[in-house]
């Protein structure tokens, strides 16, 4: 999967789970402050990523702040370097 494809998948999940306009889900959008994500939303996002790419460590999304952070995490995990 290309890096662009990973970004697309993450953004699509964010739009679906957070129920926000796709235009707001930019790389530097703050998940909690800008997109009103809470702990349940991040748990849903975690499950959605696992459904797509297999089991992830529990703390995968523990320190993400932006959509870009999630995309970067996903890329790292998929490259096998975490």
């Amino acid at each position: 999967m290309s890096e662009d494809d990973i970004a697309t998948v993450v953004r699509e999940h964010c739009v679906r789970i957070l129920k926000v306009d796709p235009g707001r889900v930019t790389g530097d959008a703050l998940l909690r402050e800008d997109l009103e994500a809470d702990s349940l939303d991040l748990a849903e996002l975690h499950v959605a990523l696992e459904d797509r790419w297999g089991p992830l460590p529990r703390e995968t999304l523990a320190d993400v702040r932006t959509v870009g952070d999630v995309i970067a995490k996903a890329r790292l995990l998929l490259s096998g370097s975490v």
Binding site: L18, K19, E36, L40, A43, E44, H46, V47
Partner: protein, 409 residues
């Protein structure tokens, strides 16, 4: 802790039922006596043995909650939020502090649609596919929680579970919170959204559902000789209960006063009523005593009247035991609304309050020949009534009985 002299007023009504989303709409449907039972189109009923129910068409949450919040609620809690919000809007601006407000909800199946979706779906039949929201959406207290959060109710928020009596018990227990001084306002009612393949099949195999598939609209026929069971329904109804003095101080419209409530148990059988409806009779007597009323002061009984052969006979016997043979008019609105399980008692409480206001007894739909074993005065056509108290009964699987009495105010 009971505060002497506290009276409990009904100052708001809200409904979401197959017969309408506004009390006036429901009232007109009850007067018309038209059943809301239709073939089920929301899932395939092939092989379930029953293919019809009373369903709510087109539930739109947009006016009530932002999309994300609405998507975090099972249909049961969505119906509850709609009806409770409408009831609070109907009551007008409350003056009670958030800490002096309470919410009590009744449900039987909780977030059953969510439960089925996650249990029956997914790649693993033995463990389903629950997401992070499956627990908070399926939990039975989700309606009370949602109403509390949405309306910033910071006093007690509780969920009562007594099967088909839940809605009545919720209203009765909320009335006690107000009467005993624990709250000045309580929003109370019931909600159910359990028209699913497994619930339908479970009830059918329990042999309590009507199987009149060739004529769904004639299937729900309480007290009729040819009844063969109840028709499953969904819905929600809520009332705002308020310390009468508070209500009068803010010039609120007072629909009625909740003057009597009682709760008894059959302690007899998992599904069958006790012989001669002993537990039900005891409940009606206790509610009369709570209200300080004699049987002859009751204008009519809004019966549990499910349309199952067993319930209607036992309830008729109990009513006769309390009131004397055929001494009080009896009606069941389930001919129109179907049986919305935990919401039923709340829907019927609203019907009882509206009957007081309109001074008319709504008819029992589909009543053609009163079952000779039900020797009560069943109301088959709209009947005028004097402005006197109305009694509403609910009985649940497990032998839970609840009786409410609403009086003119």
């Amino acid at each position: 802790m009971r505060v002497p002299g506290v009276r409990v007023a009904v100052t708001g009504l809200g409904v979401r039922t197959p017969a309408g989303a506004h009390p006036k709409e429901v009232w007109n449907a009850l007067l018309a006596g038209r059943s809301t039972a239709r073939p089920i189109t929301s899932f395939d009923t092939e092989g379930l043995g029953v293919g019809f129910a009373c369903q709510i068409a087109g539930l739109d949450m947009e006016a009530y909650l932002p999309p994300k919040q609405a998507s975090r609620l099972d249909r049961m809690a969505q119906l509850a939020v709609c009806a409770a919000t409408d009831a609070l809007a109907d009551a007008g601006a409350l003056r009670a502090a958030p800490q002096r407000q309470a919410v009590v909800t009744g449900t039987c199946f909780g977030g059953r649609m969510t439960d089925e979706l996650v249990m029956l779906g997914g790649r693993h039949p033995e463990r389903g596919d629950p997401g992070p929201l499956s627990v908070p959406m399926a939990m039975h207290n989700s309606a009370a929680a949602a109403i509390s959060m949405h309306h910033r109710i910071q006093g007690p928020s509780l969920s009562v579970e007594t099967a088909c009596a839940s809605g009545s018990h919720a209203i009765g227990e909320a009335g006690r919170l107000v009467r005993d001084g624990y709250a000045d306002v309580a929003i109370a009612g019931g909600a159910e959204a359990c028209i699913t393949p497994t619930v339908l099949l479970g009830f059918r195999r329990c042999q309590v559902l009507s199987q009149r598939d060739d004529a769904p609209e004639r299937a729900s026929r309480p007290f009729d000789r040819d009844r063969d069971g109840f028709v499953l329904a969904e819905g929600a109804a809520f009332v705002v209960l308020e310390n009468l003095e508070h209500a009068m101080r803010r010039d609120a419209h007072v629909y009625a006063e909740l003057t009597g409530y009682a709760s008894t148990s059959d302690a007899h059988h998992l599904t069958a009523p006790s012989p001669q409806g002993e537990g039900a009779a005891r409940c009606m007597r206790a509610a009369l005593a709570d209200a300080g009323l004699a049987p002859e002061e009751i204008s009519h009984v809004n019966a549990h009247g499910t349309g199952t052969p067993l319930n209607d006979v036992a309830e008729a016997q109990a009513i006769n035991e309390v009131f004397g043979p055929a001494r009080v008019p009896v009606t069941s609105v389930k001919g129109v609304t179907g049986h919305a399980i935990a919401a039923a008692g709340a829907i019927e409480a609203v019907a009882a309050v509206l009957a007081l206001q309109e001074q008319a007894i709504p008819p029992t739909a589909n009543l053609e020949h009163v079952d000779p074993r039900c020797e009560v005065d069943v109301v088959g056509r709209v009947r005028p009534m004097p402005p006197r108290p109305v009694m509403s009964n609910s009985f649940g699987f497990g032998g839970h009985n609840a009786t409410l009495i609403f009086s003119p105010c």
